[in-house]
């Protein structure tokens, strides 16, 4: 051991026991605060562009303490910002309200997840681009936890109209180099001087902009085709049931 941080440990142990309120007055106050601070991104909880909150198991917040911590500090590296201007008590009430959304979450949705999995692997060919539990392609987001992250409605939108549900870090970039060579891939990073992309073979390349005569970015067009016409309505329901069941081990 290098340094003993007993005080920190004690603080953590205490915070792990933090409980969000469940009484009606607190929930009403929590709703008001939620509407002011959270609903712009999270909508009513399951229809916003941010993570689905109508679930009993929040991926990033297994306990009330961790939920308050996320409200207080945001989630680094994501679009979730820290809350500004809320007291500790108010954050606890928001946490209580968010938990109440999960308590009424449907335990099951329509559709047959097993049939949906067969469609995912077969007719849809989804695994060609997406990974689940370490298996699949690298051209799209990992779906291992997608059921915990998205609502069924949002999943449907993503399949029918991928452009309406673009995910950061997955847009395409197309470069034409001075040599005439064309290079395309998922845009991983772009600054004033370079573009880094992952090409169709999964190889990461960094190209100096000075070498490019043309750079096209698909910022509003997903590289995923629309699958609305590929599946029947029943098949779509089954596929969504499968995706909604993907919650990893959490």
């Amino acid at each position: 051991m290098r340094l003993t941080i007993l005080a920190l440990w004690c603080a953590l142990a205490l915070s792990a026991q933090m409980k969000a309120p469940t009484d009606e007055a607190s929930l009403r106050e929590g709703l008001k605060l939620y509407q002011f601070h959270c609903s712009f991104c999270h909508g009513k909880g399951d229809d916003g562009m941010a993570a689905n909150l109508v679930t009993p198991n929040l991926v990033h917040a297994p306990t009330d303490a961790s939920l308050v911590n996320i409200i207080r500090n945001g989630i680094g590296g994501t679009d979730m910002p820290p809350a500004l201007g809320m007291s500790e008590q108010e954050m606890l009430m928001v946490a209580g309200y968010v938990r109440s959304l999960g308590r009424t979450a449907p335990t099951s949705i329509a559709g047959d997840a097993a049939k949906g999995k067969a469609l995912y692997l077969g007719k849809g060919g989804c695994a060609g681009c997406h990974m689940v539990d370490g298996k699949g392609g690298r051209s799209g987001p990992d779906l291992t936890l997608i059921g915990a992250m998205r609502s069924p409605g949002n999943l449907r939108t993503s399949i029918v109209d991928p452009n309406a549900s673009m995910v950061g870090g997955w847009s395409m970039v197309h470069l034409t180099l001075k040599s005439g060579q064309k290079v395309s891939g998922i845009r991983l990073n772009e600054d004033n001087f370079h573009v880094s992309l992952r090409d169709g073979k999964g190889k990461i390349q960094t190209i100096a902009k000075a070498e490019a005569v043309k750079i096209d970015r698909d910022l509003t067009r997903s590289s995923m085709p629309a699958y609305g016409k590929v599946f029947s309505e029943d098949e779509m329901t089954d596929l969504i049931a499968y995706l909604f069941s993907l919650r990893g081990a959490l």
Partner: protein, 516 residues
């Protein structure tokens, strides 16, 4: 995948990858932290400039040492995240963020010391004691296995070591009465190939070195990366303190295999030999330093050696085929043992040096003469560069009863009042156990050391000045104030444009330097 793995294994086993990549925690499996690159050398070191800096968005200590492979750096960020970084520009290509349970027990911050890579996979041991394989192109999880139960106090902070087709990894949790282990997992599948516990099982003869059933909570964790010798197919790995840390009454005896170096068959996980540096340790002097493997002349004969600068203030040399003890010398101030070890290398403990309820002053302090700061060995100078610290401590004994997942310390320590820790980068001559030169530091540093074929030694001071020293004299050639505390180890690599860089994490930033 199979072909890729095979090719990569060949590159990983070579003494040093010729490409300018940095493929292991220590650069090579032998634990040298030596770069064969010499674009940056004694004549141009004064022109070193910051090439880029990459800031992380965490406030935990940044202890990681990156891996560099084909123009991309893979570095762990605290607590258990991984980023892939374009090595010329410092721009992030992908980032894996691990969701941790709230209930993880850890002693010394939510830290991680680095990743390993084999073929298309990047491996990280996580604070919640899982081993995770990530797809190197996307950061997606390819497999994720639980190594141990966090409810018992286990965690993982060590950078794994690749040995052939396996990922070798150690355990943390030595302050929670866990049972330390070193384990091997199949890189491709995550299936455990073997596991060697560092404290004995019931019925083993080594239980006789523990009072009663105290071995059950014996700790001896393995939280710093070991080394591998392809010529003997042995893994060498250091083990940590026995538990509880500061009161020995409950665990009278030598407490095997705590504070030891273990030589382990890489295929079977069987222990071939061991040497215990600090029998019945009561000062928390984990022997979790990196074993440095060299083939050099020893008294007129070429031998396969292990060099080991220990936390207990003694410097050791062994024959790594047989475990024969060849040399042991005090190399940092100490007051707990006779200055000379006995003929077998066992310390002769002085009276009245154990912790007491009212406090006992001992040198070195609990953080020791050196600790997790990675050492370096230059085959050019044949010197073993070690970051050392000099500080006294007051050790108090207390009382703790083992409770699953809770602190199991039975005491505490403080720095000796009225003194400040100092330190030095020491260039150890392994043939004598004496420093050929040393570069004194006004405060102690947690940075490791890198040496290069350019004749340079790199390390950071405790307050974050990056230094370049002449490897034969210790003369300062360049410095750069990074403006944060350094807890990490420097590496060197060739970026995609063919330029040599030197990189180190400091504060909450990864810095990369090059010569214009």
């Amino acid at each position: 995948m199979k072909i890729l793995l095979a090719l990569s294994t060949a590159a990983l086993l070579s003494a040093q990858a010729p490409s300018g990549d940095w493929l292991h925690f220590q650069g090579n499996p032998q634990g040298h932290r030596f770069s064969p690159l010499k674009q940056i050398n004694k004549t141009n070191a004064s022109r070193l400039k910051l090439a880029w800096a990459m800031q992380i968005d965490k406030t935990d200590k940044f202890e990681a040492s990156p891996i560099a492979d084909n123009g991309i750096l893979y570095v762990s960020e605290p607590p258990s995240d991984v980023s892939a970084i374009e090595s010329r520009s410092g721009k992030v290509l992908w980032r894996y963020k691990r969701v941790l349970p709230d209930s993880v027990a850890y002693c010394c911050g939510r830290v991680n010391r680095g990743v390993a890579k084999l073929g298309d996979l990047v491996f990280i041991g996580t604070l919640d004691a899982h081993l995770v394989a990530l797809d190197a192109a996307t950061g997606h999880v390819v497999w994720d296995v639980e190594m141990a139960d966090i409810k018992k106090g286990y965690s993982s902070t060590v950078a794994p070591l690749i040995v052939k087709d396996k990922v070798i990894i150690g355990s943390a949790g030595g302050e929670f009465g866990v049972r330390g282990y070193i384990a091997a997992y199949e890189a491709k599948t995550g299936k455990q190939a073997w596991r060697l516990y560092t404290v004995p099982s019931a019925g083993d003869k080594a239980t006789e070195t523990w009072l009663g059933d105290s071995y059950k909570y014996g700790s001896a964790t393995t939280w710093v990366t070991g080394s591998y010798d392809p010529s003997t197919n042995l893994i060498f790995w250091g083990t940590g303190n026995p538990g509880p840390d500061w009161k020995g009454d409950k665990r009278r005896g030598d407490n095997l295999y705590s504070d030891s170096i273990l030589a382990i068959d890489a295929d079977t996980g069987k222990m071939k030999w061991y040497f215990q540096f600090t029998p019945h340790d009561v000062h928390d002097w984990d022997a979790t330093q990196v074993p440095v493997l060299v083939d050099e002349m020893w008294k007129g004969k070429m031998r396969k050696l292990v060099l080991f600068a220990n936390r207990n203030a003694f410097y050791y040399v062994f024959d790594r085929e047989t475990g024969e003890y060849l040399l042991g010398k005090q190399y940092v101030r100490q007051t707990w043992a006779q200055p000379e070890l006995d003929a077998k290398g066992r310390p002769v403990r002085l009276p009245n040096t154990a912790p007491t309820p009212n406090g006992t002053v001992v040198y070195p302090n609990s953080p020791g003469a050196t600790n997790f700061q990675a050492p370096s060995y230059s085959p050019q100078t044949k010197l073993h560069y070690v970051m050392t610290r000099d500080e006294g401590g007051v050790f108090y004994s207390g009382d703790d009863t083992y409770k699953e997942g809770s602190w199991y310390l039975a005491g505490r320590f403080v720095s000796k009042p009225g003194e400040e820790a100092t330190g030095a980068i020491k260039a150890m001559d392994f043939t004598t156990g004496k420093a050929k030169w040393e570069y004194a530091l006004s405060g102690a540093s947690w940075s490791g050391v890198l040496s290069t074929a350019g004749g340079l030694v790199f390390a950071a001071t405790g307050d974050g000045d990056m230094l370049a020293l002449d490897d034969t004299t210790g003369k300062l050639l360049w410095r750069f104030p990074m403006g944060g505390k350094a807890f990490a180890n420097p590496i060197s690599y060739l970026a995609a444009d063919g330029k040599q860089h030197v990189a180190i994490a400091c504060g909450h930033t990864l810095f990369s330097f090059t010569v214009e």
